[in-house]
Structures are given as structure tokens and as C-alpha cells.
């Protein structure tokens, strides 16, 4: 059990350090995470994975979310942690809702486009409209999406 705790702590430390490394990129946009912020986000990741009944073997998707969303005009230092947390929550939810038909990059790209575009930074609106619509469309068509979702949805 002690060995298992040690391994889990090592994994957590690795995730924390990876997340804090993203500050080097995000600070160009005036965004930084403190160690406490990173711990909150890592813990939320664990909780969300459990809630959504998913397993993640690598470092997680937070790093990708930081790189994708840092330049958003709707994210600033005051809401940075909360937005990242919500984005992470929606990401795992909609990976399930889209039946794993979307790659990580496809889903993140879609979320970023909608967040900055028609949703104007409103996460609730994004979840209730754009992401729901996307998931419904995928479930109805069960289509291999990679690289093609934009054109198909536009045709709707």
C-alpha cells in the first residue's frame, strides 16, 4: 500500500509539474497558475474522470486546453482556473456524449472555435447549445469525424 501511495504521489507530482510548465506559454497572455491552482485542477481531473467513468493513462488534457485557450479574449487571470476547470469537465463529458468518435484535438478545436465565436466566452451557453448539438449529430450519424465535422455540420 505504501508503494502504491508513493506511485500515486509521483504521478500527481508529475502532473502538477507538467501543468505548471504551461505557465511559460500562458504568461505571454497574462495567465499563470499557482501551485495551489494546479493542485485544484489536477484534483478536479481525478473527480471528473471518476464521474464520467473514464480512464486516462497519460498526463491528461489540461495541457492541451491551456495551449488551445490561452489566447482567448474571454479568459483572463481572474477566471483562468475556473474556466480551465469547466473546460476540462465539459471535455470529458462530451468525449462520452460523442461516443469517442472525436479525437481530443477535434473536440478541443471545436470547443475553442465556439467559445471564442458564437458563445462569446459563455461556457453554459456553449455546453447547452453547441456541444449538445454536436453530440446529438454524432449520435444520430455515428460518423467517423476526424477532419470532417466542420463541413458536415455546416451543411445542416
Amino acid at each position: 500500500m505504501a508503494e502504491q501511495d508513493w506511485l500515486m504521489n509521483l504521478q500527481k507530482e508529475t502532473q502538477l509539474s507538467t501543468l505548471l510548465e504551461t505557465n511559460k506559454f500562458a504568461e505571454k497572455f497574462g495567465l499563470t497558475l499557482t501551485k495551489e491552482d494546479a493542485e485544484i485542477l489536477v484534483q478536479e481531473r481525478q473527480n471528473e474522470l471518476k464521474t464520467q467513468q473514464r480512464v486516462e493513462f497519460g498526463q491528461g488534457v489540461l495541457e492541451k486546453l491551456v495551449f488551445a485557450f490561452s489566447d482567448s479574449p474571454y479568459i483572463y487571470q481572474d477566471n483562468y482556473v475556473d474556466v480551465l476547470g469547466r473546460l476540462q469537465e465539459m471535455f470529458y463529458l462530451y468525449k462520452n456524449e460523442s461516443m469517442d468518435q472525436l479525437s481530443d484535438d477535434e473536440l478541443i478545436e471545436f470547443m475553442k472555435e465556439k467559445f471564442d465565436g458564437e458563445c462569446q466566452g459563455d461556457l453554459d451557453y456553449m455546453e447547452d447549445t453547441c456541444l449538445e448539438k454536436l453530440a446529438k449529430w454524432i449520435r444520430a450519424h455515428n460518423h467517423q469525424f476526424i477532419g470532417q465535422y466542420m463541413e458536415d455540420l455546416d451543411e445542416q
Binding site: 502504491q4 506511485l7 474522470l49 467513468q53 473514464r54 480512464v55 486516462e56 493513462f57 497519460g58 498526463q59 491528461g60 488534457v61 492541451k64 470529458y92 468525449k95 462520452n96 469517442d100 479525437s103 481530443d104 484535438d105 476526424i146
Partner: protein, 281 residues
């Protein structure tokens, strides 16, 4: 090799690696269902590693989980090719005697299995429901193991059936059930029971009639289930020795039907009469 030799901690990196391949590195996470499936895939392949491969290593240590999985996966692939080749050699001689279930399960079903079987990510999935029932059910194994065993049984019963004139078999099946072509029972069982009944009344390979049924009813009513079973085993053993070079596998396969047959005879002699065992009206 028993996959339980490996702890979860040892297997997780192997499953993680397989997950990356499963998602083509496009997804950082998978559902519990997918993760369970891939864990089962790893365990399935490790189980295929024979003890012989393990003996090649130092006997004081077991193979690393990754190596055991890779070797086991290779064994699974080899088995798939072996079974496919055997199926390819067998299928030209296969005869379903116009029974649709038999035809579709063996010719289309098993043929299709090799097209859709996923040895890498879902090797334990048998895919088919194997609707045509063999005399020994294939329940304890899955995936390619199930198909291999099922094929073994089909080949055995075909060997038995091909020894008899096709016209006789069709005559027996038509006598048993005019709708046999649409039904879901085992063809070899019907023919075997007719032959065994015929042996009791000294008729050999011929259709038993009402007079034979009366004789059989009298003979069987006086015997216990165990006595009947022993007699059937003797007749079957003699048959297999005489016509099938004493093929023990065939004997054991066909023998599996006889317990149920004797139970049915016991019930029939007490209640409904044995004609229902041989002729469905």
C-alpha cells in the same frame, strides 16, 4: 500461462500501451468499458502463452508482462491462421443436408468470423452466436479458442455423417421432422439416435418403423437409465472402432448426446411413448 500471475500494476503499462494504439494516440482517455475490454485483451493473449515459452527463461523469474503479452499475442495470431487454414481445407467437403441453420452458421458465420475478428483489441470476442448446437456446447472458451473448438466438433460430426449415404441421412431427417431444414437442432444427434435404435432391433442403417418402435418400447421399458446408457456406449464404441478406426475424439463427441437421449427415453417410456423421439408430427 495464467494471466493472474501478473498484478494490476504489472499489466497497466501494457494496457496503457495498447490503449494508445487503440486510439491511434488521438485520445488521452477512454471509457471504463474500453479500458476493461483492453485489459481483457491483454489477459487473453497472456493466457495463450504456453508454459514452454516460460521455461525458456530463467525458471526463477517469470517473463515481464509486456514480453508475455507480445508472445501471447503472437500465439493468438498463429492460432487464427492455423484455424483459418483448417477451415479452408474443411469447408469444400462440408454438407449441411439442407438445414439452413447448419449452413449459415458453418459456411457464412465462421467464414465471416475471420473477416471481422479483432485479435489485437478484442480477441476474446467470439462475434458469432454459433446458433447451430454442437453435441458438446462451446461455452468455456471465447474468441478464436471458441471457434477452434467449435470447428473441431463440426469436423468430427461431419466425419461421422459423411460415412453414411447422403440419401439415408436426408431420409432419416425427413422421417424425423418434415421441417428439419428450418430447425435448430443438431443433425448428427438425430442420425446417431436412429442408428443406435436400429442397432437395438438389428436393423443397421435403415429407417425404423412402427413395428420397430413397439419392440424398442418393450425393450427399453425394462431397462434403467444407466443400463441403457451402458448399452448405447458399447454400441457406439463398436461402431467407432469398426468404421472410424477407433477415433476416440469422435467417440467422446458423439457419446455426449447419449446421456440426454437416455433421459428422454426414460421419460418417453413412462409417459408419452417413444415414437416422439423419432418422429415429430
Amino acid at each position: 500461462m495464467n494471466s493472474d500471475l501478473y498484478s494490476m500494476e504489472e499489466l497497466i503499462p501494457v494496457v496503457a500501451d495498447l490503449t494508445r494504439k487503440y486510439t491511434s494516440n488521438e485520445s488521452s482517455s477512454v471509457s471504463y468499458e474500453t479500458a476493461n475490454q483492453l485489459m481483457k485483451a491483454v489477459r487473453y493473449c497472456i493466457r495463450h502463452l504456453s508454459n514452454m515459452d516460460n521455461e525458456m527463461m530463467d525458471t526463477t523469474s517469470k517473463l515481464p508482462a509486456k514480453k508475455a503479452y507480445e508472445l501471447g499475442y503472437k500465439k493468438v495470431i498463429e492460432k487464427v491462421y492455423r484455424v483459418k487454414e483448417r477451415y479452408g481445407e474443411f469447408i469444400p467437403t462440408f454438407c449441411s443436408f439442407d438445414n439452413l441453420n447448419y449452413e449459415e452458421t458453418v459456411r457464412k458465420g465462421i467464414g465471416g468470423f475471420f473477416t471481422y475478428y479483432d485479435a489485437k483489441f478484442d480477441p476474446m470476442n467470439t462475434i458469432l452466436t454459433l446458433d447451430y448446437p454442437t453435441l458438446i456446447p462451446v461455452t468455456e472458451c471465447s474468441g478464436i479458442d471458441a471457434i477452434e473448438r467449435y470447428l473441431d466438433y463440426i469436423i468430427l460430426e461431419q466425419e461421422f455423417l459423411n460415412h453414411l449415404p447422403k440419401d439415408y441421412i436426408k431420409q432419416v431427417l425427413n422421417a424425423y421432422d418434415a421441417d428439419y431444414k428450418q430447425q435448430f437442432y443438431n443433425i448428427a444427434s438425430v442420425v446417431l439416435r436412429f442408428i443406435l435404435a436400429g442397432a437395438f432391433v438389428g436393423k443397421g442403417v435403415a429407417i425404423i418403423d412402427e413395428i420397430d418402435l413397439i419392440k424398442l418400447q418393450k425393450m427399453w421399458k425394462t431397462q434403467s437409465k444407466n443400463q441403457l446408457e451402458e448399452q448405447f456406449y458399447k454400441i457406439l464404441n463398436k461402431l467407432v472402432k469398426q468404421y472410424f478406426d477407433g477415433n476416440q475424439e469422435l467417440y467422446l463427441y458423439l457419446k455426449n448426446d447419449l446421456k440426454e437421449f437416455t433421459v428422454e427415453i426414460e421419460n418417453a417410456t413412462q409417459f408419452s411413448g417413444i415414437e416422439h423421439l423419432f418422429f415429430i408430427v
